[in-house]
Amino acid sequence: MTTSIGETGLSRRSFLKGSGLAALGVTLVPLSALLASPNAMAAKPFKTLSPAAAKTLERMARDIFPHDKLADPYYRQAIAPLDAEAGKNAATASLLADGVSALDAAARQRYGRPYTAVAKEEDRVALLKAIESGPFFQKVRGNLVTGLYNNKALWPQFGYEGSSWEKGGYLHRGFDDIDWL
């Protein structure tokens, strides 16, 4: 007898769904979320996250992966995928909203002001340290690994040149140009 996977109730989606990337502590961010230029991004409001929550997440993103040379729009862009996911997934939306409130509450308790108003980086980092093993922090950090470092617009600032086949590889573009050894 022939039974089909469809008949047993398994959708194509569940076929494609894997746990590997999540297991890496990494979320693959859809490319479309990263294509907007930083300037365009700066102006665009988030759909689901409240302006206050977005501001907190943006500050948090910079505190998690602080690069002084990167302008704010890159961090804003890096959390855009979280906004997109929150729009589709109620659990993510509440994880983020609750996480931001809890972080602000902790900041108020310790420093008498919300997270974004805590002036010193080391103080904010101390607040994050306290929640680093929790789901909210992990969600934000996991997203940032790709939200930030998989953003092609930012690669030149790290000296990474990316895709090379369309340029004929690196054979004539410095694969052996080292001159300091």
Binding site: I5, G18, S19, A23, F65, H67, G159, G162, L181
Partner: protein
């Protein structure tokens, strides 16, 4: 019109998996006139589908069906559901392998005789020696176009920046064996072009300069008209007749339909997690512990190599990502030398990562200035991977989850690994040596990284002279079932300190000769 075999054709050899082992075996058998059906769980991608993009390719081709990491190894924390890094696609992990083609050393085949009794380990000699395999190593190197080998006649690949930095440091600390036998065309060979130094070897070589069964063995096999390839066909179970010989396989085809393909011989090459899993899932009333498992060794003795990684930050730019991903390999530490305080040996392999992978693998779960100050020096980095001998331990291996099922309705595999005390010593030594090599050329900061998800998977259906010690004999033929073969790295009895693929290919060439001969003699 592509060759098609009937589902009830019981004269075909069924090969499960189309990677290094399965893809090679299919071509070798086909060239000898044997009819084969290759069942491959993954899709049939082409080089046009490859992107020079780490995450995009990871997501496209990786085996992401649920697996569970268990045991004492680091992966339970870092990669709880990704114990191993394996491809699901035609060509298997040869799509993203880096191409390093090292031979095992003679003592690797005499694991037990070399080290004697090692506490906690389940060592065994292979039933074959280096001399048995030597001619097949030669043929494998020729087939794969290994640069710098006598077999291919190809020159070495040029030295890229990453190679030069590691080689210069290695020479300064007194290392002499700095090698790079790569299965990458250093110039046009076998109808494929020479390497253009794209630097995305582990994302699928768009140029086809790097050997992969996807565009070498498999098309050659199909051209004979004696092979049918069925992609997106996941084998669920191997069936047997009442005499205990295997008679066919049950699989889910690309439309989600369950099918049964009859077989004269079944060869399993699904890599070292799926191969034992398939034997265990094929348990029957005649074989209640799974097929070929009278020894109880199916799924045991799982080997991954003892691995670790590190990045070094140099004073000036390196641009490690430019050119072949695998750069210099230091082989001086590969020979056993107990004076170092451990058994076995290791290679130090320069292996470049792009920025996205470096950010994910350098310090999984890490954050803060400690991490970002290193990543800002990305273009000054060199990166190494320690590949060391891993000792067989019986409790390391693959078992089936008692209740949890995957999307095919099969029990999820639990992949369990605990370090042997020897592993920690190898790791420590290897990382310390890389530090010296890097500091010798002025590196200012060296960051040790945890092991990656296991890319080398071996040992879970091992070869043995005696049926009670292992799963297959010296031909990869099951001790218990004569028309059932294991054709991938799971038949390894020891890991050696060398990357596995050249040995998998050499064994597949040798096994094909045996199977074709035995079929002709009507022994199979």
């Amino acid at each position: 019109m592509a060759t098609q075999f009937r589902l009830d054709d019981d004269q075909v050899v069924v090969i499960v998996g189309s990677g290094a082992g399965g893809g090679t075996l299919a071509n070798e058998l086909a060239q000898k006139g044997v009819k084969c059906v290759v069942l491959e769980a993954g899709k049939h991608y082409q080089p046009d589908d490859f992107e020079n993009d780490e995450w995009a390719m990871f997501n496209k081709i990786s085996w992401l069906d649920k697996r569970i990491s268990a045991g004492g190894w680091h992966h339970t924390k870092t990669y709880p559901n990704l114990p191993a890094w394996i491809v699901k696609g035609v060509g298997g992990s040869t799509i993203h392998w880096a191409g390093l083609a090292l031979r095992f050393l003679p003592h690797d085949f005499r694991n037990k005789s070399t080290y004697g009794h090692v506490d906690g380990a389940n060592l065994l000699d292979w039933p074959i020696g280096y001399d048995d395999l030597e001619p097949y190593y030669f043929r494998a190197e020729k087939k794969m176009g290994v640069a710098g080998s006598a077999a291919s006649g190809l020159p070495l690949l040029p030295e890229n920046n990453h190679y030069k930095v590691i080689a210069a440091g290695a020479r300064k600390v007194g290392y002499k064996q700095i090698v790079r036998p790569m299965a990458i065309n250093s110039q046009a060979y076998d109808g494929r072009p020479g390497c253009q130094q794209l630097g995305f070897c582990m994302q699928g070589c768009k140029m086809t300069a790097k050997w992969s069964t996807l565009y070498t063995e498999i098309p050659k096999a199909l051209e004979t008209g004696r092979v049918e390839l069925r992609p997106q066909s996941m084998v669920l179970k191997i069936e047997h007749d009442k005499t205990g010989k295997v008679s066919g396989v049950v699989y889910v085809d690309q439309h989600g339909r369950t099918q049964r393909q009859a077989a004269r011989v079944v060869c399993v090459a699904g890599n070292s997690i799926e191969s034992p899993r398939l034997l265990l899932n094929s348990a029957s009333s005649m074989f209640p512990d799974g097929l070929a498992n009278s020894s109880g060794q199916v799924g045991r003795n799982y080997l991954t190599h003892t691995t670790a990684a590190a990045v070094a930050i140099h004073k000036k730019p390196v641009h490690m990502y430019r050119g072949t991903a695998l750069a210099a390999v230091i082989s001086d530490e590969a020979d056993p030398n107990p004076d170092r305080g451990f058994f076995g040996g290791y290679h130090l392999e320069g292996l470049a990562l792009g920025l996205p992978y470096t950010a994910a693998f350098m310090k999984p779960g890490g954050w803060g200035r400690d991490v970002t100050s290193a990543l800002e020096m990305y273009d000054h980095m060199s990166c190494v991977w320690v590949c060391g001998e891993d000792f067989a331990q019986e409790q390391n291996g693959v078992t089936l989850h008692p209740t949890e099922k995957d999307q095919y309705g099969l029990p999820v595999p639990i992949v369990s690994k605990t370090d042997h005390a020897n592993d920690a010593a190898i790791r420590r030594h290897g990382l310390a040596q890389f530090r010296k090599v890097s500091e010798a050329v002025g590196a200012t900061r060296v960051i040790d990284m945890p092991p990656y998800p296991a890319s080398h998977n071996m040992g879970t259906n091992r070869m043995s002279a005696k049926a009670r010690d292992g799963v297959v004999n010296k031909w990869g033929q099951a001790h218990d079932i004569k028309n059932l073969f294991i054709s991938d790295g799971s038949q390894f009895t020891s890991s050696s300190a060398a990357n596995p693929t050249l040995t998998i290919v050499a064994l597949a060439i040798r096994q094909a000769e045996y199977i074709a001969g035995a079929m002709q003699r009507k022994e199979l």
